[in-house]
């Protein structure tokens, strides 16, 4: 059996601890800790379904080893908002019909957050480029682009959201 070690992760603002083998990915660790909102689509860095923010940077958690995330802030889609107080991106995606099967959406909303953080007024190219690592098989992306632009507008109007 491979050697395990205790890793402390800061996930959505809360410290959580687990014992994992050294080669355990952040994706596996997060799901093991019950963060089922982080999805697995390929485990190879090809689809972006597993994307989380690591100190504000969008990364594929399936390509990140869990121990490398220790000491960093991990944010999943559930850390952005919830049913009672959704993030403007979540509201825009839901109301704009941007989620169909929804399996890609946790990763896509994370990528979208990174896009808006980098470009508060994103151009269509900023959005497309920022989503180039995320696959969606259902939507054709059109409504996703629209939802991101809408949310960015909403966030600017609010003067910067969480």
């Amino acid at each position: 059996m491979p050697e395990t070690r205790t890793i402390t992760l800061r996930i959505n603002g809360r410290e959580e601890e687990g014992r994992f083998p050294a080669q355990r990915t952040l994706l596996e660790a997060l799901r093991h800790l019950g963060h089922m909102e982080v999805k697995c689509g390929c485990e190879k860095g090809d689809c972006g379904a597993c994307a989380v923010l690591l100190d504000g940077m969008a990364v594929d958690s399936c390509l990140t080893l869990a121990w490398m995330a220790a000491g960093k802030e991990v944010t999943t889609v559930s850390g952005l908002g919830d049913l009672d107080s959704p993030h403007p991106l979540q509201t825009a995606f839901a109301d704009g019909g941007a989620a169909q099967c929804g399996y890609c959406i946790p990763g896509i909303i994370i990528a979208a957050k990174a896009i808006i953080d980098a470009h508060p007024e994103p151009s269509e190219d900023d959005i497309r480029l920022g989503l180039s690592g995320n696959l969606c098989r259902c939507t054709g992306y059109t409504k996703i682009f629209e939802a991101i632009a809408d949310a960015a507008g909403e966030m600017r109007a609010e003067g910067g959201a969480p």
């Binding site: 689809c47 989620a99 497309r128 259902c138």
Partner: protein, 773 residues
């Protein structure tokens, strides 16, 4: 951008409060906040992890299989091989879901001696952890002795070809013989003949196949699984040898289906090991497993010979179709039937011969995929229409106009579709929607293409399809809908809610929908064949109307009015002409409860039933009804590199009646993407049956960088056989996309690439051939 166009004649007396509005889907908030559990998100205490061990040669004899080392590994709970499941098979055809006789097409659950395709399962492992299961898989020793296989359906048809199974490799043959084709060709001024080839396609739902199974206190095998079809509880029970009421399939919101979760996937493996170990077992396919573990879209070779007059009227059509069925039957007989029926497209062809064959090979088996054979036919007939137009020098839209099937006219099978046929309106709007041409410069050429389609919605009528739904109202006026329907992402369940609340006069936030549990939600039938809205929507509407009638009767009594004078809207009940006579719905419901009046209704909706098409002529009814529409694109082609970019993508569909326009647009835009990948980039490469592109870095789907913003033009003829006159849009959204792109590429470079996907290499080769001749 969406335009909606309603025939003013059909607007009379239609006023909706909930239907036709782009409401936020009931499933959306959970999905965007990460709250929605998918089948893979369920875990149980004491759960085992499964793994499937697969053959790595496509055609072979299993000479030796030794699992003893794997069994001996600490942490391995069970290893199952064919020896433990002797004589057990699993259904591969449309199962007895509707009481029809099953074809004799079962597949062995695990390989006993003959391997017929790459990836065929040899053994199942259940272990304490995924790591141990993976390790055990490495310890399994097997020897495969190669047997000559056949990987090309044309080769498979030749005398003496290696046999995949049976006496020949012919899986199914269907034909249409209509009118007098000889006479039709004799009358033609010109005969245009071409052969078109379509490729394999992978569904590539983002959520790989996954499930969790356990045996409960009643000895019922429960399976929480990502599936389009909870009715599979029956073939699962048959496969593991227990009564049908001892298997319960509990679906979850599905992370994409597109037909790829229509057949059994992981269910039987889960059921067997849950039974065997007595513990909960979980099986999640890796992406690579998913690529080799479920059926693909059938590649077709389609040969069209069309007789036309100088002014472009079709006088005769002869079509030969050969589909690669792969190594097991699955839905091939029905896929070629769809292709057969769709062969002439949305055109009036009175003299028609069609012959369609499904042929077994040692390639991956092929089965359902959005469009289901009718899409492959469209890919050919719409390229053929452009070839005819170009040969005759007639405008491409005009040629189509001269041949469109019109409302009330008989289609290929002699059946007259009951709804309006608005192909022409759709084609004109989509074509006009392309606007001003984009500029060409340097090596960039631009071109435009159009394609029109006819696509069924609802299952084959000989299956005698039905759907049940239950609608009830709680004591506080909130509404509950129960329907077994699975939601594969198109908003199937939210639409049911919208329909129920329209009828009952409440708002969508007052409804909760329970779905996809084979034991407790009324069986609604499969989410396949663009039938969910049509069938389950009609069932939910019927149930809601039954309930409404009972409530209205009690209210009428209260108000001293007739039941048909009562209306219900915005959670209130009132007399239509005396709105001051009103009461909150909740009050009426309490009264009903106090008096023992039933506050729920169970309804069954039956599709039209027919016999099978005449086997000699192919005449009769195949489907309940058909949808019509068109897709137009503008592309640019780099004549140096062969690269194609889609610049504009415009869809116009008559959906009958939108239930939720945002959801309809979503289907159309997703269909545009699915079709664009099919036309241009998605390529499954097989070498002697072995898939060499089993990942998303090799199998290239359109990304956010590749997709244009897809414009949707929605027409509403209100003539469909679905609820409120709706048709269906799930499959139709994709059908015409690929041929529109092929036509645009041919328009741009003046030469056609007859085989999809239209990769840069194929474009460059076509250009070289053009220049050489």
């Amino acid at each position: 951008m969406t335009q909606t166009d309603v025939d003013p004649g059909t607007l009379a007396n239609v006023q909706f409060r909930q239907v036709g509005k782009p409401l936020t889907r009931t499933d959306a908030p959970g999905k965007v906040t990460g709250r929605t559990p998918y089948a893979g998100d369920y875990v149980m205490p004491n759960m085992l992890h499964m793994r499937v061990v697969r053959a790595d040669i496509a055609s072979a004899r299993l000479a030796r299989l030794d699992v003893s080392k794997a069994r001996a590994l600490a942490g391995v709970a069970c290893v199952l091989t064919a020896d433990e499941v002797t004589d057990r098979t699993a259904a591969t055809d449309i199962p007895g879901q509707t009481g029809q006789k099953r074809l004799d097409t079962d597949q062995p659950i695990l390989v006993k001696d003959r391997v017929r395709y790459f990836g065929e399962p040899l053994a199942l492992i259940a272990a304490e952890t995924r790591d141990i299961a993976d390790h055990a898989a490495e310890l399994i020793e097997f020897e495969l002795e190669p047997i000559p296989g056949v990987y090309d359906p044309l080769e498979a048809l030749k005398p003496g070809a290696p046999l995949v199974y049976g006496e020949d490799n012919i899986v199914a043959e269907r034909k249409i013989r209509k009118g007098d084709v000889e006479a039709g060709f004799a009358r033609a001024d010109l005969v245009v003949g071409n052969t078109y080839k379509t490729p394999f396609q992978e569904h590539a739902f983002l959520e790989p196949e996954v499930g969790l199974a356990w045996v409960d206190e009643n000895d019922v095998v429960n399976i929480r699984v990502s599936t389009q079809v909870i009715e599979h509880f029956r073939p699962i029970a048959d496969a593991i040898g227990v009564p049908h009421n001892k298997v319960r399939v509990r679906g979850a919101l599905v992370g994409g289906g597109f037909g790829g979760k229509e057949d059994l996937t992981v269910e039987v493996y889960l059921a067997l090991l849950a039974k065997q170990t007595g513990r909960p077992v979980r099986l999640e396919y890796s992406r690579e497993d998913s690529f080799v573990g479920h059926g693909k879209r059938h590649p077709f070779i389609l040969t069209y010979r069309t007789g036309v007059t100088k002014d472009g009227k079709i006088t005769a059509l002869d079509v030969q179709m050969i589909a690669d069925a792969g190594a097991y039957v699955f839905l091939s007989p029905y896929v070629v039937l769809y292709a057969l029926v769709a062969a002439p497209g949305p055109y009036r062809v009175d003299n028609l011969n069609v012959f369609a064959q499904a042929v077994a090979t040692n390639n991956m088996y092929t089965s359902a995929f959005r469009g289901f054979g009718a899409l492959q036919a469209c890919t050919a007939y719409e390229q053929q229409m452009d070839e005819i137009a170009n040969t005759l020098g007639i405008d491409r839209l005009e040629l189509r106009r001269r041949n469109f099937l019109k409302t009330g006219e008989p289609m290929s099978t002699g059946f007259v579709p009951p709804s309006a046929i608005w192909t022409e309106q759709c084609a004109e709007k989509a074509w006009a929607g392309l606007g001003e041409p984009s500029p060409e410069k340097g090596p960039i050429r631009t071109g435009r293409g159009l394609a029109c389609y006819q696509q069924s919605y609802g299952r084959l009528t000989f299956l005698h399809d039905t759907s049940e739904a239950w609608v009830g109202v709680e004591m506080d006026g909130t509404v509950v809908v129960r329907s077994g329907v699975t939601d594969i992402g198109a908003g199937q369940i939210s639409a049911l809610g919208q329909i129920a609340v329209e009828v009952l006069g409440v708002t969508l936030d007052n409804v909760v929908i329970y779905n996809s549990d084979s034991a407790v939600t009324p069986l609604a039938g499969t989410t396949t064949a663009t039938r969910a809205l049509y069938m389950t929507g009609n069932a939910a509407k019927q149930a809601a109307e039954g309930l409404r009638a009972r409530l209205a009767e009690r209210a009428a009594q209260e108000f001293g009015a007739a039941p048909d004078e009562i209306d219900m809207a915005f959670n209130e009940v009132f007399v239509i002409d005396r709105p001051e006579q009103r009461m909150p719905l909740v009050e009426l419901v309490r009264t009903c409860a106090a008096e023992g009046i039933h506050r729920s209704e169970l309804a069954i909706f039956r599709a039209p039933f027919s016999d099978f098409l005449d086997p000699e002529t192919g005449q009769g009814q195949a489907h309940p009804d058909y949808a019509y529409g068109a897709h137009a694109v503008e592309v640019s082609v780099d004549v140096e590199t062969g690269e194609v970019e889609v610049l504009k993508s415009i869809a116009a569909h008559d959906v009958g009646q939108c239930i939720n326009p945002a959801a309809v647009e979503g289907q159309i835009q997703g269909g545009a993407q699915n079709g664009q990948g099919y036309a241009l980039s998605e390529e499954m490469l097989y070498e002697e049956g072995r898939l060499v592109t089993p990942s998303f870095s090799e199998y290239l789907m359109p990304t956010a960088m590749d997709m244009p913003n897809v414009e949707c033009i929605i027409l509403e003829s209100r003539s469909g056989v679905g609820p409120f006159g709706a048709k269906g849009i799930g499959e139709p959204a994709m059908t015409a996309v690929a041929p529109a792109i092929a036509n645009a590429v041919a328009d741009a470079i003046g030469v056609r690439v007859f085989e999809m996907p239209i990769t840069p290499e194929r474009v460059v080769t076509a250009l070289q051939q053009r220049d050489a001749s």
